[in-house]
């Protein structure tokens, strides 16, 4: 029931956003809806952790991974909604945007969140596809939010590339239905039916289907070489949207791939899918690391870092075993840390009104707290203790050393390059001489609290895992 509640609440919020003209009301209801969603997700998650798969009606079914995703969406979504309010206000004060845009923003934001919820909760692969496509459609205008030529360019690339990718994914999805046979065409087919009928799938078809799915949804998840839209979109969208895109949306798309992976493994054997994942992971990590080394734009930098982290996730699932455990953990940490980073970057952008690293100097003086957050986020994302990412990195690598020592070594090297590059840019931004025209002082407390909370929770989770989360993760490991 909670799911319906959540979704409908979002829809209501969106409609309110369409109708009313009081800014406060719109903001309020958006926050309320995201809060409701968060609480609902927690309830669902606890339910799932205690009593297996949660499926109030045939249309919805949430397994462990799904509930983890719900938690991520809910938590990050809430934080970002809170952040967005202050962010947009600052933009309005600057005279960059007007009320209509604010309305548009919140409408689309709510739709976006709703679509993501649908994608992870629905039991129908086709409907999952529809909702993923819906996320594309709802975010397209958010990416072109500032309505500048470059923003438009980013949005266009986002739209076209993702549509192509998703159409391929759609074909792949349908190919899985061959197992059910032409007869099943009319009936309503959910993940379990597919899973059950997986044995009827011809191995070769399964492999082809998985390739289509991996490349299709992989486009959305931002694997190299289908990642090309990602840096553009992330760098041009408003900071909170970028945060949502790379913190949550990528993971959502990746989860769909995983759902198909287990179906494929039934007939095609896990080696096949794992090798594919490892190849794409390796590509993503190496390319991202190298590009980060000479990156000039800090939002693009973060975007590439998300690509790298998706690579790490894929690597974890590719290595299997403990790698999966680590990957799930990493997914959770990464979502929070990356969103926090994007928010801090947004605050920096509000202050310096440029995304060029060269333009940003002496942030520690201008934005003391945000700079600390940036630094903390940097250490967290590059896997430095005490952040849990260090442990996940270690676990993934130590699973890898047994199966693919060479791959592991290469990844380690790439991580060094990434760290060096990332560090240089962060240091350039945080330290140095403050430009004269920048006035000292944080913009607003509400721009600091959300990222701070996210990082704090990430740090907390690195030391203590709530039992229900623990159970969920173990459940995931046993399934995927």
């Amino acid at each position: 029931m909670e799911i319906i509640f959540i979704i409908s609440f979002f829809i209501i919020a969106a409609l309110v956003g369409l109708i009313v003209r009081q800014r406060k009301l719109i903001e309020g209801i958006s926050v309320a809806s995201s809060l409701v969603a968060f609480l609902g997700s927690i309830i669902v998650a606890i339910g799932v952790s205690s009593s297996g798969i949660y499926s109030p009606m045939p249309f919805f079914s949430v397994d462990a991974l799904g509930s983890i995703m719900m938690l991520i969406i809910g938590f990050i979504g809430f934080a970002i909604t809170v952040y967005s309010i202050q962010y947009l206000r600052k933009e309005t004060d600057k005279g960059v945007i007007g009320l209509t845009r604010v309305k548009q923003y919140f409408v689309l934001l709510n739709l976006f969140l709703a679509a993501m919820y649908l994608a992870v909760t629905t039991s129908s692969p086709i409907f999952a596809w529809i909702s993923i496509e819906a996320t594309t459609l709802s975010t397209a205008f958010l990416i072109s939010f500032y309505n500048k030529p470059s923003a438009l360019e980013a949005a266009w690339k986002y739209l076209i590339i993702n549509s192509v990718g998703l159409l391929l994914g759609f074909l792949g999805t349908l190919l899985y239905f061959t197992s059910v046979g032409p007869a099943g065409g009319s009936g309503f087919i959910d993940w379990h039916t597919l899973m059950a009928n997986a044995i009827h799938l011809s191995p070769l078809t399964a492999k082809i289907a998985f390739i289509f799915v991996l490349i299709g949804y992989g486009t959305k998840a931002g694997f190299v070489p289908m990642h090309t839209w990602l840096p553009d979109a992330h760098s041009k969208a408003p900071a909170p949207i970028s945060a949502l895109l790379s913190g949550v949306l990528l993971n959502v798309a990746f989860v769909i791939v995983l759902k198909f992976k287990i179906i494929t493994d039934v007939v095609a054997g896990h080696i096949f899918s794992e090798n594919l994942l490892i190849i794409f992971a390796l590509l993503s990590i190496v390319v991202a690391a190298l590009i980060i080394f000479t990156q000039k734009n800090y939002k693009r930098l973060l975007a590439y870092s998300s690509i790298e982290n998706m690579g790490v996730l894929a690597l974890g699932f590719g290595f299997g075993g403990l790698g999966i455990f680590a990957a799930v953990l990493h997914m959770i940490y990464n979502a929070m840390i990356k969103s926090a980073l994007f928010m801090s970057a947004g605050t920096v952008f509000l202050k310096y009104s440029s995304t060029k690293i060269a333009k940003v100097k002496g942030a520690i003086t201008a934005l003391p707290v945000t700079s600390v957050l940036l630094f903390a986020g940097f250490f967290a994302i590059t896997g430095i203790p005490p952040f849990g990412t260090f442990l996940t990195k270690m676990l993934i690598l130590s699973t890898g050393i047994n199966i693919h020592p060479v791959v592991t070594a290469i990844v380690l090297l790439a991580l060094i390059i990434l760290f060096v590059g990332f560090l240089r840019h962060i240091v350039d931004m945080v330290f140095g001489k403050l430009p004269a025209d920048i006035k000292i002082g944080e913009e607003s407390i509400w721009l600091i609290i959300p990222p701070f909370v996210l990082l704090a929770v990430a740090l907390f989770l690195s030391f203590y895992m709530p039992p229900f989360l623990q159970a969920l993760i173990n459940n995931v490991v046993s399934h995927y």
Partner: protein
């Protein structure tokens, strides 16, 4: 309806795609897309004749409205508004394009792709043709520089996938298909809006003029 007609319809889709590759006029491209969609709709209608589900008929009508009436209309309005009678150029010249198309067609027909084309052995030829249609429409998006052409490319990719799905006997329950259709409809709107915005910002529909975002 017997196999021949279906083959003919699929043939039309295929040929429209080839034409889309060659055509220099946006207007004709829009119209040809309409024809292509018409073929798809007839195929869908055929499956309605098999199943007699009334929802399917509704669906067919909806598709008709969206793909044959609305979509071309949007395009034509777009064209009129910015008077772009001629579409932006392609990367490969006509002969090369044709060569690539033929290569793709052979690839699609090759035995290697049997697992795809033999999903329903009876429809083997149809499926491989549909597959080649898919490839060619992908190639269309790659090859064309005009924004409008890319939109049409994506849409015809969708069309050919639909055709493939129908012949592979994988079509979904009408409800889901309606959802998909709705998606497509929204997509068309957004895409056309973007296209006109592109024209306003860049003064042309040539997407290659958009290469600010690098590295």
């Amino acid at each position: 309806m017997n196999i021949l007609i279906l083959q003919f319809l699929l043939g039309t889709i295929f040929l429209t795609l080839v034409f889309l590759h060659l055509s220099k006029k946006n207007l004709s491209a829009a119209i040809v897309y309409g024809i292509q969609s018409a073929a798809v709709i007839v195929i869908l209608f055929n499956s309605f004749l098999e199943t007699h589900s009334i929802y399917l008929l509704l669906l067919v009508l909806l598709t008709l409205v969206i793909k044959i009436i609305l979509a071309p209309l949007f395009f034509i309005r777009l064209i009129k508004k910015h008077e772009l009678s001629f579409s932006a150029s392609t990367y490969l010249n006509t002969p090369l394009t044709l060569i690539v198309i033929s290569v793709l067609t052979f690839v699609a027909h090759s035995q290697k792709l049997a697992p795809l084309t033999n999903i329903i052995p009876a429809n083997n030829t149809l499926l491989s043709l549909a597959l080649s249609a898919i490839f060619i429409s992908l190639f269309l998006i790659v090859n064309r520089k005009g924004a409008l052409s890319q939109i049409i490319g994506v849409l015809s990719l969708e069309n050919s996938i639909v055709a493939f799905v129908v012949f592979a006997g994988l079509e979904q329950s009408p409800a889901l298909q309606a959802g998909i259709l709705f998606n497509i409809f929204i997509w068309i709107i957004i895409a056309t809006v973007f296209a006109s915005m592109i024209y306003e910002h860049f003064g042309s529909h040539d997407v290659t003029s958009m290469k600010k975002l690098k590295g």
